[in-house]
Amino acid sequence: MGVLPEVFVRITPMDPDKGRPDPKPYILKVQDNGPGVDPKYVPQAFGRVFFGSKFKLKQARGMFGMGGTMSILYGQITTNRPVKVVSATGEGKAYKFEMRIDIRNNTPVIMSKETIPAEGVTGTSIELALQGDFFRASSKIQEYFKQTAVVTPYANIVLIDALGRQFFYERATNAMPAPPKVTKPHPYGTDVEALRRLLQDAKEDTLSKFMCKNFHRLGDNITRRFLEFAGLKEELNPKSLTNRQIVSLVDALHRYDGFLKPDASCLSPLGKEILEAGIKKELQPEFVATSIRPPSAYSGFPFVVEVSVAYGGKVLPSGITLYRFANRIPLLYDEGSDISWKVVGQDIDWKHYNVRPEAPVGIITHVCSTKIPYKTVGKEYLADRPELERELKNAVRDALRRLKIYLSRKGSIAMVQRKMGIYEKYFPLIARFVTDLADEKELPNYQGLLRKKGEVVEKEKVEVVPSVVKKKEKVSEAERQTTFEEFG
């Protein structure tokens, strides 16, 4: 059980003169309640680009660990100010660093370091100055936090923006997704550079042992058959491989079709409960359905697709709104180029699910992978990989089928209410007119008729639902078939 996250973010204009137009320098402070960073790693972690190793594979927010240091670097370039890092690892004190990056040598330059008391707290705080256009970015910043809150309902997040407005995204669940396990690279996903690094660090004396030890789901048998296929001797010393051999080995790794599919223990999908907790909290829909697809893989990289469909409520606007996430990061730009957009806009026949075009519907897609197939370095949208498209499509359809049932149930309840409303309107009128016509004094007992009618109408309603469920199961069977074949 990990620590429930508390994240604090503040953006403050550096210049007290509020009238100064954007872009201008701002101070960005980000603080968490994590375990802190061991003070001996702080300079390297925050003062050097490309620190850390990411060639062990697991689901992570970034690929190379560049985001943080690039921000610091950008701040330094635009404002010439040092970054302040405070780290508390829980020993009663915190270490406060002021430092810069020596850009030419890619090394940290510590300007000051002090120890301050910090009883009973852990965490990391970073404060940096950077040039920015808050006026234009403001709505995207808010959107980013709001969407982040959707996929991290187990975190408390506070944002104080440059106008002093405070946004509090409150924790809605104490459940956290299981952390991903580190996994070895799968042969299909290995490139020449990765293999060269693995070979450099190899401690095994034969190629066969090296393969078994360093690759995902490779046992003796598969290794033997593969090396035969690749035309390389099992006894070869890994360190003795020539450049040409390395290239041909990678080539063989990609061509050989006898490898097992990667497993998904290295992934950390949110799961139905957490995802729905976040959606309910931020989007407040009247209905939500979630479909978690079984793990699948593209090019040796495992991935899991999770899709929720949210309907109605006060937050969702009319029409279909797409919320895209990749490894819990909201994707805010280039929606139209994203594979999810294609699925939602082209592959799905909305009429089939009785969703009217103006209905307030939110489609939340979350793709987890050790390597998200971003199409560009901007990491804003996912490429149309057929495996990914298939999983997204199946997940969206699965969730929509449940929405369809909900809508038909809701429709039938509305139908009952509408029907009864009609009887409740007319029976008293009939009673009144005939009482007068018949020269009677008291109204006839029409309530009994209304009760009778109510029972009949209620029965009609119940009859509607099973037929829909039946149809759904039939389709699911076909969908299951395709999944099965894929993993066969």
Binding site: Y426, L429, V434, T435, L437, A438, N445, G448, K452
Partner: protein, 368 residues
Amino acid sequence: MKLKGKQHSRSLASSRKEDVQKLLKELGQSIYRKMNEGVFPDVVIPRRSVRNMVYDEVLKQYVLGESSVTRSSQNIKHIRPFTHLVWLAFFVDKLLENGKTSTLRDVYYSAQAYNVEFKDQPESDDIITDLEARFSRPRENFSIYPEERSAIFGDVTIEYTVPGYEGKKLNLASHPDGYLIGPSLSTAELVETSAEMVIAVEKGGLFTRFVEEKVHDKYKAIIIDTAGQPPRSTRFMLKRLNRELGLPVYILTDGDVYGEHIAMVIVSGSANAAHLRDLTVPSGKWIGVWGSDIVRYKLPSIPLTDHDFKRLHELKKDPRYRKGIWRKELDVFLKIKRKSELEAFAKYGLTAIVDKYLPEKLEAAKSL
């Protein structure tokens, strides 16, 4: 001719009212009882579709067949018209009770006061026809009248039964423009007359000419302007003059298929009123203008239009047009392919139609 059938007519207005109120009360009681017993009430109404219309050789009019529709309060699609029908029964009962009359349009608006709005007037008109069919009574019996436009002139004395005029008498020859055949005239008793016939003419212009030329004196006739296709109250009046006072009815129309059909409706009713009786004058005689009159009197004429031909072929299929003058003249129209109006006689002078044509046609009518 005096007091002919007076005994019969004396009780007509009040008996008509009692008759309808009794039917309404029975309907109300039956629904009231069913509701109390926990049974969904319904109303059975003869089906008014064309497929359920048959020509009755004895009655010499169209009547509705055996088929009927059931409006059940249990059916969500029926509950609204069912309620409307019950409301209408209630509303008619109130009209009769208070001696008030209303029009189709009044009914449409009146519903709004009772929270049973009609979506448009055709919907309310339809419910009125349903009630007519349910009781086989014309809406005039329910005190619902059309907008009046037809008129009557001649020596006949009536006695009002409408509130405020009860017992008051009027001679219908007192005013040269004639009298509107409205609710008060329709419910009046026919007291006495010296007339020996009724002449119904299709057009107001000719009606005025007949009054000017003293047709009522010359022929001892009551003159009625049907103003085109006669409204039901007018057909009902014609029927009463025929049955209660024993006067023969002669009909003069334009010389075309539409005119011929006006005469036919007076004689044997319309398909629209197949659910009703007592609106026909089976002994009525159409005396012109015939197709053969156009030839005989060399009347100015114009060619039949496509529309006329279409109507002509429709009427040929109607069993009422299978024999006699009806069939003969349809065939003449088809042969000469021309039509004339009553006014065409003006070619021979304004009074020619009264002096020459009318006596000849009345003479000819004897052999019909």
